[in-house]
Every structure is written in C-alpha cells, then in structure tokens.
C-alpha cells in the first residue's frame, strides 16, 4: 500500500453468484483510509454488488472482507461504520426530511437534543433547513439527493459508499453535486467508495480508480495512470474522451518495429515481450494526433467529419481504409472543411501497443 497508509477496506478473492449469474469473480482491491476511490465500469459489471458486499447487505460466497484490518466477511451490518447512498435515493417516504435525517441517529440511540443539533447542522450544510418538515415526495430531485447524502453523513461514517448517486440528476445538478461531493470529502476526510459508469465523474472525482469488468478489477490506478498507461484495450477504450483510436497491426521481423495501416512505427522504448510476426493492436489517443509541421514524417489523409464542441473540435480524418479521430483547438479547426486534404503527424513514442490475442498491453 502506498505511503504506508492503512487500508480502510480490503476485499480479497470475493466471489458472489445469484443463481447461475456470477456477479463477482475473485474480486480483490483495497482502499486507503481517507481516499476518494472510484469503482468504474458499465452497468452490470458488479459495482453495486461490490458496494453491497462492503455494506454487509450481500454475503459473499467466498473471499474475505476487511474493514480497518478486521474481518467483517460474515459480521452483521451494524457496527461496520459504513453508510451508503443509493442510486434510487431510497428515502423513507413516510417520514419528513427531519425524520429521514434523524433515523440513523435514533437507531444509534443518540439523545434527542444531540439528534436535533446534528440534523440541523447537516441540513444547514446541505441547504435543506427550509425543507425539514416536508415529505420526500414533495422535494425536487436535487433536494432528494441531498437528503439521501445528509442521511449518510449525519452518522459521521468512517466509510461512505455512493452507488451512482448522480445518475438520476440532470446535467447541471450533476455538475454542482460533483463539486459538492469533493468539498464534503475534503471537509470530513472519510473514505469514499464511489461507483459510477460515467467516465467524466470517475476521472474528475477519483483519487484512485478501479476499472471493473465481469465482476473483477482489471486495472486500478490514479486517473493519470489509467489514461497514460492503460493495461489493456478494455481500459484504453473506456478511459479518455474522445475514445482512443484502435488499429490492427503486426510486430515486424526485428520485433521492434510495428507494421500498422499508417506505416511502420518504431517507438524508442522497445517492447521486450514482442515476438516477431505477432498480431497486435495499436492505440492512439486523439489528442496525440496533430497536424504535421514542415519536415515531419506526415501521413496523408482527408478530412472526413467535423464535430465542433465549442473550444475544441473533434476531427475525423480518413487515411487509407482507416478513420482516425483527432482533437483540434477551435482556432485551428475553423479554416478546414470536410474533404480537404490534411497531413497528420503521430509520434511513435505516444502509441499504445496491445496484444491482439489477449488485449493486454505489450511490455
């Protein structure tokens, strides 16, 4: 574990099946105390089951769950110091906002004076003070979300689990809540495990991200690590917007050059495990493609499609049979039209190389 920080949560070899459906398969990761940790992956890869396992709502078939170094695999839910915000908010519909926020404290047998104090503090922090007497169904989506968050925070949990908490909000609110969540994390310093299928949320909020696939973690690291050194084509395809260009290629006879549809490429750092003639996939970030300067080894191409996005424009260029996406700043993109010739430049040191058979990165 980095910096010698004690893990707040550690899962080792967790497996869980529902009937014949395998939800989690040999899932292992740990989360350092105080970390904003993101579980990232499309729907039904097991993110929710993972959170529910940590919370204790799901008993794993095998494997071990530790919280603060203690084995909690088969312990009851209470006593874990874990709270959770559900995607559906899951507010208590028959209770007022005040009672919703007070509920976990009442279950902890906190004195009623203390309950009033803490509920009011939490409500003030989340700008809910004027809504305390209302029932959840009379609140807007954003307010319901804040009540759900408040109900989790009022307990001062050591570990906060967030299951796609922003999915049900509109775009503007989602943006505000991202900032709000980061602020709350800084303020309270609790460990957060945040599940999301949204790449932007994962990259902008996560201090560390675990990318999940089929019930297991395929790569974990900081957002920069995942972006710069994706371990396989799956991660490479999920992280980074617009998505990475992927091209079929072959390792050359010298096992150092790569024969690609864009010509031969020889990165400075050789891939030691590359075998001559092996099928490969090369990945090129759209941001690593630029218009060629004079004297550079340019690739001739034609403008295929322009997608202006305000300050940047996604430009698709056609070269041979391949279509590549690249990103140009607005200023450079205004002068070009579909069908124009363009010469582009790709630095061979920027390309990502994967094995075609396994999808794993070639080292």
């Amino acid at each position: 574990m980095a910096e010698g920080v004690k893990p707040a949560v550690r899962l080792s070899g967790i497996a869980k099946s529902y009937g014949k459906v395998r939800a989690l398969e040999n899932l292992s990761f740990d989360v350092a105390a105080g970390r904003f940790f993101v579980l990232f992956g499309p729907s039904s890869v097991g993110k929710t089951t993972t959170l529910r396992t940590i919370a204790g709502l799901v008993k794993p078939d095998s494997g071990r769950l530790e919280i603060d170094g203690k084995d909690f695999t088969n312990e009851p839910i209470a006593g874990r110091g874990v709270s959770m915000v559900f995607q559906s908010f899951a507010l208590y519909p028959h209770l007022t906002v005040f009672e919703n926020l007070a509920y976990p404290l009442r279950e902890e047998k906190v004195s009623s004076a203390e309950i009033t104090k803490r509920v009011n503090e939490t409500a003030a922090m989340l700008k809910l003070t004027h809504r305390l007497e209302r029932k959840p169904n009379t609140l807007s989506g954003g307010e319901q979300q804040r009540v759900a968050l408040g109900r989790s925070l009022v307990r001062h949990p050591k570990i906060l689990l967030l299951d796609e908490p922003l999915t049900n909000l509109d775009a503007k609110l989602r943006h505000d809540m991202r900032a709000e969540l980061k602020r709350l994390h800084r303020q309270f310093g609790m460990t957060i495990v945040y599940a999301t299928p949204d790449e932007l949320e994962a990259l902008s909020m996560g201090e560390e991200i675990a990318v999940m696939r089929d019930g297991a973690v395929v790569q974990r690291g900081t957002p920069e690590e995942l972006y710069e050194r994706p371990a396989n084509t799956y991660v490479a395809g999920k992280i980074g917007s617009p998505h990475m260009n992927m091209l079929k290629a072959k390792v050359g006879k010298d096992a150092k050059t790569f024969e690609t549809p864009l010509g031969k490429m020889s990165p400075k750092v050789p891939r030691k495990t590359a075998a001559a003639g092996e099928a490969a996939i090369i990945g090129i970030r759209p941001s690593d493609i630029r218009l060629a300067a004079k004297g550079e080894k340019a690739i001739a191409s034609k403008i295929h499609l322009l997608e202006p996005l305000g300050d940047i424009t996604i430009v698709s260029v056609e070269t041979g049979k391949e279509v590549l996406r690249m990103v140009l700043p607005e200023a450079k993109a205004t002068s070009i039209k579909v069908g124009d010739p363009a010469s582009i430049y790709i630095d061979p040191n920027d390309i990502h190389i994967f094995r075609a058979a396994s999808g794993q990165v070639m080292t």
Partner: protein
C-alpha cells in the same frame, strides 16, 4: 388554502374537479341509480307501516315547499327503530326485548375480531411471502386462494361436519376462526401486492442505518402500506359484516349475527314480511360499515409511496 391534492401530498397533475360539468353530471346520475336501492331502504325505515307499500309510492319525507304533491310525501317516524329492539310479539301483550342488541354486538364483535386477526396474521404472512420467498412460493399462494374458488355452499358442508365433531358449532371461537381463515386468503393476496410494490432499497437503507429486521418491518415497511391495511380492513369488514350463509349454519342463539337475525325477525309469526322493520334493521346495520369506510377513505385514496423513489 391548500387544495385537496396538496393536502394529501399528491402532485398537481391529478387535480380534483378537473373533469368538466358534463362528465360529472353523467357520473352523478349513474351514482344515483346505484344508490337508489339504499336510499329506498333508508326512506322506508322512516315510514309508517301503512305508507311503506302504498301505490303510488311515497318518495320524499318533505314536500320541498310544495314542489312535491302530497300523495308522494310520507310522514317520517322513528317508531320503527324502537321496534327493532322492543316489540309486541303476541298481540295484546306488552312489548318485549327482541335480542337485537345482542345480535348487533355479535356482528360487531365477530367481524371486527376476525378481520383484525386476519389482518395481523395475513400482513405478517404476506411480508414473509414477499420478502422471504419459499421454494415454490406461488404454489402456496395459489393453495391459499383455493378456499375462495368454490361457492361457500360447497365448502360449508365439510366445515359443518368438522365443527360438529369438535364442538365448535355455535361458539364465538368457531365462527371467528372460520371468518379469520376466510379473510386470510384475501388479506395475504392484497397485502402481498402492496409489499411487492415497495422499494427494496428503502429497506436496505434502514438496515445500513442500523435497523434490525423487526424494525425494518415495523418502522419502514408497515408505515408505507397503511393505505393497503386500510383498504384490506374495509373490504374484509364489508364481506364479513354481511356474511349470511356461514353465520346461518354455524352460529347459535347466543352468537347469532344481524344478517341471520334479520331474516328470522321479519319472516316469523306468519304475518308476512314487515317491511318497515326490515328497513330499519338494515339502516342501523349500514351505519357501522359506513362510518368505518368514511373515516378510512383518506387512506384508501392516498398512495403513501407516491413519487418517492425514482425507478
């Protein structure tokens, strides 16, 4: 002032009185036709015997300031209601108690106890069926309903034999057990559908907040199905309160309920049917169910879980 919809926490879209007068008038007319038999019974209860079967029929207790011709107007009286409880049985002798105070108590006692009992047991059972499904869950639910698939007259024969054998015939315990069992099928099916509708996430949230399973049921699930409890209670009560066949065959003199007693009161003595007496018993008999339904109707109309969980 808050509108009715706001008061009940409903969204604006289903505002009250949004339909036009034309539609409202049609529905009012149909409702009146529905209500007409009940209205006739209530009016008859207040008529003197002589006017009960007169032709043309008397239709109104008042002339409405001369709007209604005199031959259609009856003179309201409360005498019939007195007759329900004390009546001259043999002409010439003094009035004697009819026992209807006991019959009303029996009806009240038997139906409320059995409906409440069925509600308690059935709610627990339906929660179990909904949240902790057995292997072959639906089979058991189906079996529970089979008792209600046959006409009561068919089911009653084995029940009479069993009750005779164990001596439950004519006792409070017997009829309460029978009604409870019959209401259970209905209660379990009704309440299960209400529990199935609830969001499981809400219960899981309570578990994470530290609630035990019993508290999840008592403090989270039960309050959300209050509307269902009220509806089930009212329907169960109406069915049980009006039940005739089982009561006829399985209650004794002391445990007789009003529907049975009513039948015997009006057809005894060979004097033909005493319509005003019948109508006044019926009117009195209507009041308790009417009141219960009236006071619970807010709950019947109200969806407690409306709009709290996004799906």
């Amino acid at each position: 002032m808050a509108t009715l919809a706001e008061k009940f926490g409903l969204r604006k879209a289903s505002g009250v009185g949004e339909a036009g007068w034309g539609h409202t008038l049609i529905v009012a007319l149909v409702s009146l036709i529905y209500f007409l038999p009940v209205l006739m019974i209530i009016f008859t209860a207040f008529k003197p015997s002589a006017q009960a079967l007169s032709v043309p029929p008397t239709l109104s207790p008042t002339s409405l300031f001369g709007l209604i011709p005199d031959q259609f107007v009856f003179t309201p009286t409360l005498e019939n209601f007195g007759q329900v409880f004390n009546r001259v049985m043999v002409s010439g002798s003094a009035a004697e108690p009819t026992g209807f105070d006991v019959f009303f108590f029996n009806s009240f006692f038997i139906s409320s106890v059995s409906v409440l009992l069925a509600l308690v047991i059935g709610t627990l059972a339906s929660y179990g069926f909904s949240r902790y499904p057995l292997k072959g869950n639906d089979t058991y639910l189906f079996i529970i309903l089979t008792t209600r698939m046959l006409p009561a007259i068919v089911v009653i024969i084995p029940i009479i034999l069993m009750f005779r054998t164990v001596g439950l015939s004519g006792s409070y315990l017997g009829i309460i057990m029978l009604y409870t069992a019959f209401n259970l099928a209905f209660t379990i099916w009704m309440m299960k559908s209400f529990f199935d509708e609830l969001s499981y996430d809400v219960e899981d949230a309570a578990r994470i907040d530290g609630s035990s399973e019993i508290k999840v049921f008592m403090k989270i699930c039960l309050p959300q199905v209050v509307a269902g409890l009220a509806a089930t209670f009212v329907f169960g009560l109406i069915l049980t309160w009006n039940e005739f066949l089982f009561a006829l065959l399985l209650t004794g003199v002391d445990t007789r309920t009003v529907p049975v007693a009513m039948n015997q009161a009006v057809s005894s003595g060979g004097r033909g049917t005493d319509w005003t007496l019948l109508a006044s018993i019926e009117t009195l008999f209507l009041i308790p169910v009417f009141l219960v339904t009236f006071f619970l109707q807010n709950h019947l109309l109200r969806g407690v879980t409306f709009g709290t969980v996004k799906r």
